[in-house]
């Protein structure tokens, strides 16, 4: 069973890891809705 199906997704990306827009791009075709997406920066 899909873990993400019909879920509301919150993406917290990291500037020095995986930025949020890259994660968003991965989840574009999944049957789930991205409700918030933001990238954090520690430097």
């Amino acid at each position: 069973m899909s873990l993400l199906k019909d879920k509301k997704l919150i993406i917290i990306g990291d500037r020095d890891g995986i930025p949020a827009p890259a994660i968003e791009e991965c989840l574009k075709d999944i049957d789930a809705q991205v409700v918030f997406s933001s990238t954090e920066c520690f430097v």
Partner: protein, 517 residues
């Protein structure tokens, strides 16, 4: 002809009291959680000036150690002080807080900075002995005021306190009663940026041996914004700092691009000089108070000293090609475009591989890469990893992917083409810029032929876009005058012939029609 990097300067200012009072992590904590255990523990983790001075990454920043010497030292670096560390080194200095507070007052032209009478009396002699503080600068220093006035302004007039060794020694008053862009907090942040930029400029003038009046244009690439309520980011830090540093014949402007701004500014400066618009352009930047102690919570939690206790500044001089200094090759510019995307591999491809491919070069043709030079002592305990190493790994992975090196050579590539990070986490300061001075020297010495400087910036923090940003350029050994540019092109020959024919025809006409003059 390409322009050249003729000189650089690097300064740090140790400001332990500003960590406590002005760093945004601390000011936020004081707002949301005033009695927190962190705020209580923090003062015990603050370093002395001597500790900051003998800290290996700081010495590397001002040129007291080379990147090679730093990489030979065991990490983390903070437990092992550098023996015999000096305040002044090849590229600049590490200024103590008390002298900097005087410089802050010197940089104030609107009667906003007031220091205690005792403090000015006790510190003036030290600043007067500074080899670069000339009479024009020292003459700007004002007398101190009564302690009573200081307490009154801090307690009742929304002034920002200035502290030294835990004592209130002065204040910055707000520049307007209502304007949120001229609060004491904003003026403090901006004056600190300006004063540390001035210090960078003074060292640059010294290092270059130039008459300051020869400089035509200054670009400030810090991350602050100055203006009033009608133009929040009006500017102009560049000209304001140039005024104090005595660059009488310069004008300037500010360039903003988060942490990528130094690279944008250097490409712009190199272009202005190559185009012949100006002969000598300086890129300068002061430091950021907001970022002091940014990762302090993690440092305190891990029982380490709070390492983000210095302001950083740097300046670079771009001149017309002198046949000696390293060139900034404007044919090798990498840029993160609007359509590039945010995936780390797309970012690094656009900045590193794309410009090289266009020029028919390979990744391994670049001797040294300087990406984000954040000090890992600071970032690793905070969960951000070793930022420069992550960049070099990405570049190496790209070289593997494009078949230039084998997977097994990855670490060897990083060793040869990378370097440790030594820059304080002052936002724009780490972005490639800290290597400029060493790169220039290494190229002049023939140790390396070229280096790629990479600036990267987190534009999304401004909430105007979700985009990332970056720009890169290559410095390389001076090739003397380019033959193609030295000779006359076919196009130019045609132009000269046409001009000769026109004047010949004109003279015929004159003879035929006589003189109309």
């Amino acid at each position: 002809m390409n322009s050249v990097l003729a000189a650089t300067s690097y300064v740090l200012v140790h400001v332990p009291d500003m960590v406590l009072h002005n760093g945004s992590t601390q000011t936020t904590e004081r707002t949301v959680n005033p009695g927190s255990a962190y705020l209580e523990a923090l003062p015990k983790h603050i370093r002395s000036y001597e500790q900051a001075l003998s800290y290996a990454p700081n010495q590397t920043y001002i040129g007291g150690l080379t990147p090679q010497q730093l990489s030979q030292r065991e990490q983390p670096w903070y437990p092992q002080p550098v023996e015999g560390a000096d305040r002044f080194a090849r590229y600049g200095e590490i200024m103590p807080q008390d002298e900097f507070l005087l410089l802050l007052q010197i940089c104030d032209v609107f009667d906003l900075v007031f220091l205690s009478r005792d403090f000015v009396t006790h510190t003036r002699a030290a600043l007067a002995q500074h080899p670069l503080m000339n009479q024009d600068i020292l003459a700007r220093l004002k007398e101190g005021v009564d302690d009573e006035q200081i307490t009154n302004f801090v307690n009742n007039e929304h002034a920002e306190g200035l502290y030294h060794k835990g004592q209130l020694v002065g204040y910055i008053k707000r520049a307007h009663d209502v304007d949120v862009n001229l609060t004491a907090h904003v003026v403090h942040e901006n004056l600190v940026s300006k004063a540390s930029s001035v210090l960078s400029l003074l060292h640059l003038i010294h290092n270059s041996g130039l008459n300051p009046e020869e400089i035509d244009y200054v670009i400030d690439c810090s991350e602050e914004a100055c203006g009033d309520m009608n133009q929040r980011g009006g500017g102009n830090f560049a000209k304001a700092a140039a005024e104090i540093a005595g660059l009488k014949n310069a004008t300037g402007s500010d360039m903003r691009a988060f942490c990528a701004a130094p690279a944008h500014a250097l490409v712009t400066a190199a272009s202005l000089v190559k185009a012949g618009t100006f002969k000598k352009v300086v890129v300068t930047s002061g430091g950021s108070t907001a970022k002091l102690g940014m990762n302090g919570k993690d440092h305190v939690k891990k029982d380490m000293p709070v390492l983000e206790d210095v302001l950083g500044g740097f300046a670079a001089l771009i001149c017309e090609n002198d046949g000696v200094n390293p060139e900034i090759d404007l044919n090798l510019i990498g840029r993160h475009m609007v359509g590039t995307g945010s995936s780390p591999q797309a970012v690094i491809t656009s900045l590193v591989l794309s410009p090289l491919e266009k020029a028919g070069m390979k990744i391994v043709d670049i001797d040294k890469f300087a990406a984000e030079m954040q000090n890992p002592d600071v970032t690793k305990p905070a969960g951000a990893g070793d930022v420069p190493q992550a960049n070099f790994k990405m570049i190496a992975a790209l070289a593997v992917k494009s078949g230039e090196i084998e997977r097994g050579e990855l670490n060897d590539f990083i060793q040869r083409h990378g370097m440790p990070g030594w820059a304080p986490t002052q936002g724009h300061i780490p972005s490639g810029a800290p290597y400029l001075g060493f790169a220039r020297q290494d190229i002049l010495d023939g140790t390396i032929n070229n280096a790629m400087i990479i600036g990267k910036g987190s534009l999304f923090l401004g909430r105007m876009t979700n985009l990332f940003d970056g720009i890169s350029f290559v410095m390389r050994a001076n090739r003397g005058q380019d033959k193609r540019e030295q000779g006359i092109s076919r196009h130019e020959v045609r132009g000269l012939i046409a001009e000769a024919l026109r004047s010949f025809a004109g003279s015929l006409g004159d003879q035929a029609g006589g003189s109309h003059a």
